[in-house]
Symmetry: C2
Subunit: 381 residues, 2 copies
């Protein structure tokens, strides 16, 4: 794929603040390269102009790529095989039905070894209050752990409380997990979760619609929530107060026709009142266990096939997989030889090898790098 497409989308992802429906329509019509040229030149309709004029002269593409590459990240675009086209169909369908937040992102900045399309083949969003109770955190951790064991990717927002517990539970079971941020993937937010975000990127993916250095803002959380809802086969609200942001993710889940689930809790606890509201209105079905989540989101026959396939699955993105495959099974291979063999450029190989090492897939030996013993593609060896 021409690098010009990726560069055009990188520019476009910074030029407008999502949601930017007019720009999205322009890209759909003209393709990203021509659309970027028009925006840059200012030769666009008033609607696109309103969305892009403020930032149209800002071109930070090289710098943005430098930042994400330093984090072993990359820009994922709809033209990539790794793009989660299937989950995102819900967005375009919703958009066609006039759902305000139903539009695909122009691109996704990602950090980590995971292969997004594969990771979201079987995924569940687990969300809830930042101000979670001990009960809520316990349930979120158990659900995260159990879903990972069942081969289901946990998607969440890396926030305090329920999100963090769900990611951690998944990681504890060696599962990949996906964090969707409301800021750049280079921005450690919340700061206390820098370590958690690092671990998520090593075993799954940290994803954002926002280019590097973008800081979180209230409207960005709301915009981000639709992606969490779209990437899961369903959403579990573990704990939510009556005004919790999780209810926004819940609304998006319903709008996309995905399964909305809520965990019951003590009726004496304000942090469960939002869940009970969703149950009482009939919007959500109650789930008390991982088995019930799997049952509610399961596609007929899928789980059985999945169980036999899981060992062969490769939730690692293209470059990392090519680097891994270029490694020797027994003897070491030099970094330069890996680059030649894999066709991945040298700086990227240098970036990816330590990540593969952290994921337990590669190891450093005297004469270079080799695959580690018992490595497999799930990164949970």
């Amino acid at each position: 794929m021409p690098e010009s497409i990726r560069r055009a989308r990188a520019y476009l992802s910074r030029v407008a603040e999502p949601p930017a429906p007019a720009l999205a329509a322009l890209v759909a019509e003209q393709g990203p390269v021509r659309a970027a040229e028009s925006v840059r030149a200012g030769t666009v309709s008033d609607a696109v102009g309103r969305e892009t004029s403020a930032r149209r002269t800002v071109d930070r593409v090289d710098e943005d790529f430098r930042i994400v590459h330093a984090l072993h990240g990359r820009l994922l675009i709809p033209e990539d095989e790794e793009w989660p086209s299937w989950p995102f169909r819900a967005l375009s369908l919703a958009s066609a039905h006039g759902v305000r937040f139903g539009y695909e992102p122009l691109a996704l900045w990602v950090r980590g070894l995971g292969h997004l399309a594969t990771l979201t083949e079987r995924a569940v969003a687990v969300v809830g209050s930042r101000a979670a109770s001990g009960y809520g955190r316990q349930v979120a951790t158990e659900f995260g752990h159990g879903l990972a064991e069942a081969g289901v990717t946990v998607v969440s927002g890396a926030a305090f409380g329920i999100d963090a517990a769900a990611h951690s539970g998944s990681l504890a079971a060696g599962g990949p997990t996906v964090a969707v941020l409301a800021c750049g993937v280079d921005v450690p937010y919340p700061v206390a979760h820098e370590g958690l975000l690092d671990r998520i990127s090593r075993h799954g993916l940290v994803v954002s619609e926002y280019p590097p250095a973008h800081t979180p803002a209230r409207h960005r959380f709301l915009t981000r929530n639709r992606l969490i809802a779209a990437l899961g086969d369903g959403t579990v609200v573990v704990e939510a107060g009556r005004r919790s942001g999780a209810k926004n993710t819940a609304a998006a889940t319903s709008a996309f026709g995905r399964v909305l689930m809520a965990v019951p809790g003590p009726v004496t606890s304000a942090t469960s009142s939002g869940c009970h509201e969703l149950l009482r209105s009939g919007e959500a079905v109650p789930v008390s266990s991982v088995a019930e989540v799997v049952e509610s989101t399961g596609r007929l026959g899928f789980d059985l096939v999945e169980a036999t396939r899981s060992r062969e699955k490769a939730p690692v993105h293209g470059d990392a997989m090519r680097v891994f495959e270029a490694l020797g099974l027994r003897r070491g291979v030099s970094v330069e030889a890996v680059a030649v063999e894999s066709g991945v450029d040298l700086p990227m190989v240098r970036a990816l090898l330590p990540e593969l090492e952290l994921a337990g897939l590669a190891e450093r030996v005297d004469d270079g790098w080799k695959r580690s013993h018992d490595s497999d593609w799930r990164g949970d060896a």
Copy 2:
């Protein structure tokens, strides 16, 4: 009404173990007096014979009346104005649709001042596990209290755990409550609840399909549960394990077309798992508060009318009301004069006056009995 009818039903209520559908059909066809004569003489169909032959020569009517009168009780029969005909319509309807446990009782032994038809005009069954958690007992107490405050009678089974908490909460708010037993109203079961049953009888009613001295048995609990379900506009299951008897009451509630409600609880608690099962299957709607219970069981416009009417309501049965009305407002009236004035026989007047006193409705003075200050019909003065 001829005393012969009441005596016939007293005999019939002992001669067969409920459910006795053939006997019920005979009574419906011939009336209670002729049916009792046929049963006594043994001139009945094989089906009725199978239900009644073992006890047909047992006639304890006088003794049974003595026992319940000593407890200030009485036998309530369908011919009484106080019979809960409206709630019990659900039973005959269910029976007509082949529901096995859908049949009206032949009579009800009751103990207490309450007027059953009035008490069940607006009533909710609150049931749950004997082995309740602290959480479950707390919710049951709060619901009992709040329902009483909302003018709703709590119906339950006087068992340990949820039942006791619901009755106690209602009593604490000064509300009347109805306990339906699986044994005779003279049998203190469980023994530890003798005091609770006394308090219930003073502020509401203790009710049983079983004649005095009948002891509880497993099948009697199941038979009893249908009456709890029938007497409420709906049933709230506060806590229930997967095999709790409360699920039997829940099934009866659904079979009668009444609203089934379940209280969510921690998914980590086995005592809530039955509730969550009912919610997940869609059999029950979740309720988190008294307001939601009232909303789920409310009949349009009823609650408003009820609020203005509640102070005029007289949930006291006919005899007690007549005795009360025969009392002077300021000066005392002799027991004999009350009997003459009220038309209630002397032993019953002697039995009722202390009960009215305990309920805060009457007081003993030098020259007999008078109404107490600020007494009202709700017995919660």
